[in-house]
Symmetry: C2
Subunit: 225 residues, 2 copies
């Protein structure tokens, strides 16, 4: 009757790069890394599967754009120029972890290709700034910044990989409790040190461990070797 509703009801039919990426992220969030198929994205956005190819040349391009968007969301304002360099890096690392862990299904995609987009470069600049202030020369600052990127992304990837089922991550405390239960089964005869440290190992995927490793890594950058 009213000619304002064009076709079928359901998801808004504003097909665009943004709508596609939003739909992809929503699918990732509920179904995990494999849930963001071209066909499901198209269905979510109310369009035939091949319509997606009007905006992206292939699935890889969708993934790359999504990764770029996630990295671009990191709040550069958490880096307060007035604070010491360690605190700035810590704030950045915590913000990145918080944002990525909120989309566990997207994390494997981050590690699936080179991170060479503008958002990644911008984060790299922030790190290089902080490390220059720490007194590192240009070469050491570059090596240190990559060491940090490796640590941060590695920790986030392992944290997410620890949870088998898709969907939002349970609170940290619950995940640690589940790990503690699992580590109770480690045979102490074969792995004595592991069995003895089981309670600490249960906390590997938590914030305390994340900061412990980060701070030790930062300390290593400014220690005579």
């Amino acid at each position: 009757m009213a000619d304002t509703d064009r076709r079928k009801p359901g998801p808004r039919r504003a097909l665009s790069e943004d709508a596609i990426l939003e739909a992809a992220l929503a699918l990732l969030d509920v179904g995990g890394a494999d849930a963001a198929s071209i066909r499901r994205i198209a269905a979510a956005v109310g369009v035939a599967p091949n319509a997606v190819y009007t905006y992206f040349p292939d699935k890889g391009a969708v993934v790359r754009a999504l990764v770029e968007r996630l990295l671009g969301e990191v709040d550069h304002a958490v880096v307060d120029p007035g604070r010491p360099w360690q605190e700035r890096i810590e704030a950045l690392a915590l913000d990145l972890r918080r944002r990525l862990v909120a989309h566990p299904g997207a994390v494997p995609l981050l590690l699936s290709g080179p991170m060479d987009g503008p958002a990644a470069l911008a984060l790299g600049e922030l790190l290089l700034d902080a490390l220059a202030e720490a007194g590192l020369d240009a070469t050491a600052a570059a090596r240190a910044s990559y060491t940090l990127i490796v640590y941060v992304l590695g920790a986030i990837a392992l944290e997410v990989a620890d949870v088998p089922q898709p969907g939002p991550l349970a609170p940290e405390g619950e995940r640690i409790a589940a790990r503690r239960a699992a580590f109770a089964a480690v045979p102490a005869e074969a792995f004595p040190r592991t069995a003895a440290a089981a309670d600490v190992m249960a906390t590997y995927i938590g914030t305390e461990q994340y900061l412990w490793g980060l701070r030790r890594t930062l300390a290593g950058f400014v220690t005579p070797i």
Copy 2:
């Protein structure tokens, strides 16, 4: 005629867990992470797709067994008890990197689930041994060992992810040269420090950077903080 050749010619028809894992690894090596499909594994081993389910309940189980096998191949003998703890950890980290980078298609599978098999635990014990010798108490040794696992796996994952096309990795020098060419395009106005450090960044995926980060991380473990 001769009744020694039972059926068709082609791949030996010794179906078994081992044959399946070997076929999967071979497929991974030539076609990348997505190439090890159940159907292709079955074809390579000369069997109907669903025959694989006699040995593994699902594809995830195949992947887990393959990961366990790869981690189990790490040569514990590279850890010479007579050498200082840093050297032992370095040897282990280099051996693991060498073995995993030889199968780039398998690396994404490593990060796709928890590493809680016996081979992973055995490597963890080696780390805990070395870190205890470094003077760390049980808790610090555990935190440090996980920091190392994160660093090593993160570095290997990013190194492999840097190469888009499947198949064996080109020699390190070639990959670095390709990165150098790519970094030449970074706009110096927007990313001044990145552009200035482009030559170092080209070497991020190399052995020198791997050892730099590893040694700094180790140094951070024994620095007063």
